[in-house]
């Protein structure tokens, strides 16, 4: 029962950590707009966290420039499990208009498994909230999977 409570809480209280890997700032503004009174993502328990160690959902925006690649990987290593990765906008998914540039090392899939990908340039706040909400569901499944693993190990 306690395990169920924890898994349930995971999907109700996802804290976001936002990494900008060379984004044009459009997606970043829209992500912050989700937390404003107009869209109020705090209804679902979303909160922006300042440290990757507090994060449950890592939101990555931008096409992954060569300058930001190492920092991205290092940051993702510091996030406690279970966590989800959400790619925000078209850039981390395909490179968007920056595709083929000498300094772009995307897509994000090359470095880490992406759980939810919100497309658009920029995506609407409604779409972002829906994507984040799905990611929160996936968090719960991941936690249940970890519990299953532990049970089998015993």
């Amino acid at each position: 029962m306690f395990n169920k409570l924890i898994a349930d809480s995971l999907s109700r209280s996802p804290w976001l950590y936002h990494i900008n890997t060379g984004s044009c700032n459009g997606c970043d503004i829209e992500l912050v707009a989700c937390l404003t009174p107009r869209y109020d993502a705090e209804r679902f328990g979303f909160k922006l966290a300042g440290s990757p160690r507090h994060a449950d959902i890592v939101v990555v925006s931008g096409p992954i420039t060569s300058q930001s690649k190492d920092r991205l990987i290092r940051t993702l290593e510091q996030v406690p499990r279970p966590f989800c990765v959400v790619s925000l906008g078209s850039c981390p998914r395909s490179g968007n208009v920056f595709k083929g540039s000498y300094s772009v090392e995307g897509p994000l899939e090359k470095y880490i498994h992406v759980d939810v990908s919100v497309a658009g340039c920029t995506p609407k706040p409604e779409a972002i909230i829906e994507g984040l909400y799905q990611a929160a569901r996936i968090l719960k499944e991941k936690r249940l999977a970890i519990q299953q693993e532990r049970k089998e190990a015993d």
């Binding site: 409570l5 924890i6 898994a7 349930d8 809480s9 995971l10 109700r12 209280s13 009174p37 109020d40 705090e42 209804r43 679902f44 328990g45 922006l48 300042g50 440290s51 160690r53 507090h54 449950d56 510091q78 406690p80 499990r81 279970p82 936690r143």
Partner: protein, 332 residues
Amino acid sequence: MELILKALGTLFSVLIYPGFLFVSAVGLLLAGFDRKVLARMQKRVGPPLLQPAYDFFKLLGKETLVPSRANKAVFLAAPVIGTASLAVMMLFLPIFGRAPLSLRADLIVILYLLTIPAVALILGGSASGSPFAGIGISREMVVMMAYELPLILVFLAVARKTGGSELCFSLERIVAWQAEHGPLLFHWAMIPAALAMLFVIPAEVGTQPFDAAEAETEICEGPLIEYSGAPLGLFKLNTAIKMFLMTALFCTLFLGGSGVTVTLGPIWLGAALSALLNTLILLALCLAVTLLCMTLVHAVTARLKIEHLFRFYWTVVAGLALISLILVWLGL
């Protein structure tokens, strides 16, 4: 046999009522009210009432990472020390009547017990080895010094008022005095001290205008930056418990009284019912104080710089407390 029963009783009061379990549940609920009402003030729907509880249980389910540069033992022990001292502090607060633990100098013990969670935060932050935490703990120390002076002055004023010619540091006697002469808030000489205490509460808890130590937007929660999983959850729980304890302390000092006594059926039933009723009344008062001095202030102000915060507390707030102390010393 009697000794075992007594030990069991103490264990019950430390762990369940009015100790750890009770203060955690009530603190998390109070924090939920704070977030919900704040959201309504900003014309948002806001998170569910149980959001802080969800946050806490979620953090229990996360992996606990210890940074390689951290001192592992201190890093992990710090939040536990803080929670333990807060759970013990509740035993000294009488809920309209008797407290499970009562000494001659409750107020002095409480002053020390209130310092311990802040010191635990400083210990944990400095053990984590992060520069953000370094800035955070230096600010936390300044905040501590800032609110401690007015708090001591308030305690002295209350002690002198209720003790007559001597100082009365026993909370039970303070409550008994108020049952006889009416709540201290309604003695005009004590009103400045009550105002000062209302300002001390948000600084002690660390809510918005006075949260320079944990400023989320500039130093990423300062001392908490390297924490994850259960220890972080405990620190968040500490904040919630402090919210309840500080408001309960205000209610005890300024809104105390004999409470309600139910005489119904057998003695134990009447006692249980009156304890329940008194607890509910205390919770309602705590909620009102929380909304007044934390939520409302949070909604209408922006964060103070650390030097402004310090100046504000040592001039305005300490001044208010001093006015009361002088008035009381003059016998008013």
